[in-house]
């Protein structure tokens, strides 16, 4: 319901609202219940405190300290996909990742965007430097691939419209970027996609 109100405030179409509400509920199920009855550890088993997770969505994109060589700047959707692949062992993590992203975004409604910084968590200069480098790469990528048709400010405002459900199909921003026309596809889970979204998030935190 809160997601619906948030999206309504952003002026998004009802088709998206209805789907997103369901998506948030689905995300809560993924968050609280493991799909594997033999291994019942779910996201909420360790991340049980809503006060601690409320700021997560606003803190992305950010450096995820995964084991090398996987540590890098990620979007929330990419980080969720990595987590459900590892913990839930899903072959295709995108649906669960999109639903959890919607759920965490709803939990964090009203928290100001602060890419790279989580409220109550220490700030690490090296991680912020990595994010700044990601934003720089994303700016160059946007100029090369998107600038001809889109203004960065407008694209940045669309960030919170994802993930959403359109005609029964769940789509994350990362998947939209992947299937969007361009000289070569950007994979949804790639660093380049994270860079592009890091740049747009930076624009959004500056402008909106």
């Amino acid at each position: 319901m809160r997601a619906a109100l948030l999206l309504a405030a952003l002026g998004l179409p009802m088709m998206v609202l209805a789907g997103s509400s369901d998506l948030v509920a689905e995300g809560e199920r993924w968050w609280t219940q493991s799909p594997d009855p033999a291994n019942p550890v779910a996201c909420a088993t360790c991340h049980w405190d809503p006060a601690a997770t409320r700021g997560w969505a606003a803190s992305f994109p950010k450096w995820k300290p995964l084991r090398p060589p996987d540590a890098r700047v990620m979007t929330l959707f990419q980080a969720n996909a990595e987590a459900v692949t590892r913990h839930y062992r899903l072959c295709d993590p995108r649906r669960a990742a999109a639903a959890i992203t919607a759920y965490l975004a709803t939990q964090g409604a009203g928290v100001p965007l602060s890419p790279g910084i989580s409220a109550g968590q220490p700030v690490f200069a090296e991680r912020l430097q990595a994010l700044a480098a990601s934003v720089k790469r994303g700016r160059a990528l946007f100029a090369r691939r998107c600038d001809a048709c889109h203004r960065a400010g407008e694209a940045a405002r669309a960030l919170t419209a994802y993930p959403h459900v359109v005609d029964g199909r769940v789509e994350s921003l990362e998947e939209f970027v992947e299937r969007h026309r361009g000289e070569e596809p950007l994979a949804w889970d790639s660093q380049a996609t994270a860079d592009l979204i890091a740049y747009l998030a930076e624009e959004r935190s500056r402008c909106c």
Binding site: N39, V41, R67, P68, V123, F124
Partner: protein
């Protein structure tokens, strides 16, 4: 006269140095470990130096029965703090401590809902290398994992020295993200200065899904793991 001046000067200088050292604030991470219900938990607190999950293990301490620990550090900086208690999923967190300051953390652990997916510590042993007259001792740990997704966190901790080690896998592994093999992990310890004392050694393993074994302490006889309600 010259000698007297020198001795007096040297003594004063030593006193000043000593006072300066005594006044120098220590760099420490202290903490409390508890369950969600507030029960204090004993266990291990182990540190990686630098970015968390980089597998550069540094030092650690035992967490006492009241759930308290304190790790003294040579310098401030970024560390990865990993806390373990038998029956609970281990807790990792990135911390930053400033030189000369004390960082206080609270760690809340949640119990493993089932132990069926936990790695299993079958046995541990200490083997002096005879070819070098016992100057080297191999510490060995036999590990299996029902999910076959062991990671690099096959940990040995020497409470006497405070040193923490990620043990070497039985065969080479591509990278830290890969599934590590089951089998006998080992560690070479230089025992030239003092023989190894098994009483000081503690072992714990967590796999890629964070399933965590009980802590295996002296006499290193594994017990069946139990689920904490």
């Amino acid at each position: 006269m010259l000698l007297k001046t020198f001795v007096t000067g040297f003594t004063l200088w030593s006193v000043v140095l000593g006072l300066a050292e005594a006044g120098e604030a220590r760099t420490v991470i202290t903490g409390t470990v508890k369950s969600k219900g507030g029960q204090p938990l004993p266990g291990l607190a182990l540190l990686e130096k630098g970015e968390i999950h980089n597998n550069v293990w540094d030092r650690g301490v035992l967490v006492d029965p009241s759930g308290r620990f304190a790790i003294e550090l040579p310098e401030g900086g970024q560390y990865g703090l990993h806390v373990y208690s038998s029956g609970y999923i281990y807790s990792p967190q990135a911390v930053r401590v400033e030189t000369g300051k004390t960082l206080e953390v609270t760690v809340t652990l949640v119990p493993e809902p089932t132990r069926a997916n936990d790695p299993v510590l079958k046995r541990a042993g200490f083997f002096p290398w005879e070819a070098r007259q016992g100057k080297l001792t191999y510490v060995k740990l036999d590990v299996s994992d029902p999910n076959d997704d062991l990671g690099p966190q096959v940990m040995a901790f020497n409470a006497a020295t405070g040193r923490v080690y990620a043990m070497d896998p039985p065969r080479k592994v591509r990278n830290l993200k890969a599934n590590f093999p089951q089998g006998v992990y080992q560690l070479e310890v230089d025992t030239l200065q003092a023989p190894i004392s098994p009483r000081d050694w503690h072992f714990v393993v967590a796999d890629h899904q964070c399933n965590t074994t009980d802590i295996l302490s002296f006499p290193h006889e594994p017990k069946p793991p139990r689920v904490i309600r």
